[in-house]
């Protein structure tokens, strides 16, 4: 059995021997896994550390933190230290306060007597601590639910509208012969070549003129008519036989019914790809919301993250937890739909 496993793992180049290039290949890939996943893993791991543990240098790999204990007569839990006694033996004591090089400590079993210890003679006691409060506090102390809701709302509404509007346009462009069709198509392809970054100022004017500043709709409306989406759906709808649409016409279906009952269901694969893309785009979008949404109660998650890290004293424990929560949905979507995504990109070359 083990033999078979080794054989399988070393099955390369058809010669049965592990070639130098194979070593290089797997070396590169291993480094790649470390480099690509490592930083995100480190972030996720760190997000479970207490604030105190995050301040330690060098940072511990796992979420260890200074142990603390409730000591009678003290309101707050006190940090525990391993103290080296004169006779060389060690004992665990709680530190009350530190003055210069001298730390005032008590034995938890004997809270009354304060012992003075040289700071060099003590070491922190570490214990495994999963600081889940980094996450739970987000819900209690911060506007995180609000940001989450804003992001979810913008993502879902924009995606649904993107799908419907773009599918309608793609249907018109792929299944009708009307005067001006080529012009409209070129118009939309033209939009493909105009990146939103170069029309920031005037788009801001339009959005503010419509009274959409500081409203999620100011982010949603400009985003939904993606030329990429129209183009992708049109290419797909061209492959739906015209006969089906004629058959539906003979079946007394109105054009809207044909769109809704025949064309939409048959375009499901393309719609799914566009939906995934749209969710990614909207969830991750940064520059445009940054311009349109100025009030913190309208912030999306990326904006909240940005605002949070820009504060004078960054509360990294919460920031890290929030970052993890922001990347989690995308990671899940990717884990389940990666085949759709990768083949969608490989075939369309779009992003």
């Amino acid at each position: 059995m083990a033999n078979r496993v080794v054989q399988f793992l070393t099955r390369t180049r058809g010669h049965g021997r592990f070639h130098l290039t194979d070593w290089l290949t797997y070396g590169y890939l291993t480094i790649g896994v470390f480099l690509m996943f490592g930083p995100v893993m480190w972030l996720a791991l760190s997000s479970f550390k207490t604030e105190a543990a995050l301040l330690q240098f060098p940072p511990p790999l796992l979420p260890y933190g200074p142990a603390e204990a409730e000591v009678e007569g003290y309101d707050r839990p006190l940090p525990l230290y391993r103290v080296e006694k004169e006779d060389g033996s060690e004992t665990i004591m709680a530190q009350v306060r530190r003055i210069g090089l001298i730390a005032q400590m008590v034995d938890p079993d004997d809270p009354g007597t304060i012992v003075k210890v040289n700071v060099k003679k003590r070491k922190r006691v570490e214990e495994f601590q999963l600081a889940t409060e980094n996450y739970s506090d987000l819900w209690r102390q911060f506007d995180f639910p609000q940001y989450l809701w804003n992001s979810v709302f913008i993502t879902i509404v924009a995606t649904i509208l993107t799908l419907i509007f773009n599918a309608m346009a793609a249907f018109a462009l792929s299944k009708y012969q009307f005067r001006g069709r080529t012009a409209v198509f070129l118009f939309i392809i033209g939009a493909l070549m105009i990146p939103p970054t170069i029309v920031l100022v005037p788009t801001y004017l339009v959005v503010s003129g419509m009274g959409l500043l500081n409203s999620p709709w100011g982010v949603i409306w400009p985003a939904i008519a993606t030329p990429t989406g129209v183009f992708m759906l049109r290419q797909y709808m061209l492959t739906i036989p015209d006969d089906l649409i004629d058959a539906a016409r003979m079946d007394n279906a109105s054009e809207w019914r044909i769109f809704w009952r025949i064309v939409m269901p048959l375009s499901a694969p393309a719609l799914a790809v566009l939906a995934i893309f749209s969710v990614m785009w909207r969830w991750n979008e940064f520059l445009w919301p940054l311009i349109v949404l100025n009030r913190s109660e309208e912030f999306t998650l990326p904006l909240a993250l940005n605002a949070f890290q820009g504060e004078l004293k960054t509360q990294w424990n919460y920031l890290l937890a929030m970052t993890v929560l922001t990347l989690l949905p995308v990671t899940f979507v990717f884990a389940f739909l990666q085949r759709y995504i990768t083949s969608g990109i490989a075939s369309a070359g779009v992003k």
């Binding site: 006969d243 058959a247 007394n252 009952r261």
Partner: protein, 390 residues
């Protein structure tokens, strides 16, 4: 009741006219086949009747009402497509129900109609399947069923059998004919296959580049083609065409000297009125009308009315058992195909004498239209049973 009239119907595209002024009357309960080579406009004409294609000029009249501006859905017609056009995301039942739902038919009525149609077409066990799980023949039946449940005034078929294999095609041909007898609706059927046209039609409409070449019953088209195109299109293998010059005209018919020094002269029993000696014409002889008297295996000997005797050099033979083909040349080198029943004793290299009955010969003019000269007597191959419907 459904009568269809086309009056000077034209379809123009920027690139040119596809239908060039078609006039046609189709009676109630008639089975009409539009036939012609690809690109002749037969499908376009059908789609114009259906309403899927607009009419550039002229009128389409169904039951005395001009339907030019009535959309496809409201003309009360049903169409069976070449690709079947079954909705791939719906089950067979949903496919059949879709059209009825669209006109807000009550559910129980839908169920009843579908049950009837499914039983008639023997697809009742397939109702829960998706089209992708069906064979070609089954899809074809569903497509027909979808048309039946709507109880249309006229059925339109757009090359419905061309995606089936040969055996299935023969079977479906018979079933569609039977369906026509059973339902008694007017049916219009488009095909490029003249065999389908001959076997199914009450009336065949032969089309070429947007014009009607001839309209008639299948045997009329076979026996009395009005021009060279129809003569060549109807019948398989194709009629032999031999260019020549009129050498004499009398009450027996017209004599044509075939082009080429060594080629023979052929007598055809056609009316030469209005023709002149020396005029260029084309002689048409169907391969099955050439007789080989000496051939031991065939029962066919001398032609009843006598006629032309011609020498043929056999260049190639094809023996199919029940029939055989000779690919031969006249003495001057003109190619002629002979179609014989049974098996032939002729070998490659043989020079044989064949008889071509004068009444079976056609003559076509060579000017525009290539019209046929009228034949003098009833074609010999026609059964001489007395006509009942006077």
């Amino acid at each position: 009741m459904a009568r269809l009239q086309l009056k000077k119907v034209v379809k123009s595209y920027p690139s040119g006219d596809v239908i060039r002024g078609v006039d046609l009357d189709i009676d109630d309960r008639e089975f009409v086949v539009f036939v012609g080579p690809s690109g002749c406009g037969k499908s376009t004409l059908l789609r114009m009747i259906s309403g899927l294609e607009s009419v550039s000029s002229g009128e389409i009249i169904i039951d005395d009402q001009c339907v030019n501006d009535i959309p496809a859905a409201q003309r009360g017609l049903a169409m069976v497509f070449q690709s079947y056009a079954l909705y791939p995301h719906m089950t067979v039942y949903q496919n059949l129900a879709f059209g009825l739902e669209n006109i807000r038919t009550p559910r129980d009525t839908i169920a009843k109609k579908i049950a009837e149609a499914a039983k008639m077409l023997q697809i009742d066990h397939l109702l829960d399947r998706k089209p992708t799980a069906l064979s070609g023949g089954q899809r074809q039946r569903v497509a027909i069923g979808r048309a039946i449940v709507r109880e249309p005034k006229i059925f339109l078929f757009d090359e419905p059998l061309s995606n089936l294999d040969a055996e299935l095609r023969v079977q479906m041909r018979a079933e569609i004919s039977q369906l026509h007898r059973q339902l008694g609706n007017t049916m219009i059927y488009v095909t490029h296959d003249q065999v389908e046209a001959m076997t199914m039609a009450d009336k065949i409409v032969v089309l070429r580049s947007g014009n009607i070449e001839q309209v008639g019953a299948p045997l009329d088209l076979y026996n009395r083609p009005e021009n060279r195109f129809v003569a060549g299109f109807i019948g398989s293998p194709k009629m032999n065409f031999l260019p020549g010059v009129i050498s004499s005209i009398d009450s027996d018919g017209v004599q044509v000297k075939l082009d080429g020094d060594e080629e023979p002269t052929i007598l055809a029993r056609v009316d030469g009125a209005g023709r002149t000696d020396g005029e260029k014409v084309t002689v048409g002889i169907r391969p099955e009308h050439i007789h080989v008297p000496g051939d031991q295996s065939t029962g066919r000997t001398a032609a009843p009315n006598g006629g032309n005797t011609v020498k043929l050099a056999v260049k190639h033979t094809e023996q199919l058992g029940s029939e055989s083909y000779l690919f031969a040349e006249l003495s001057g080198g003109k190619r002629v195909v002979v179609h014989l029943p049974g098996q032939t004793s002729a070998r490659i290299g043989d020079i044989i004498d064949v008889q071509i009955p004068a009444p079976s010969c056609h003559i076509f003019q060579t000017d525009r239209g290539e019209m046929a000269l009228p034949r003098l007597d009833a074609p010999i191959d026609r059964p001489t049973t007395p006509q009942t419907d006077q």
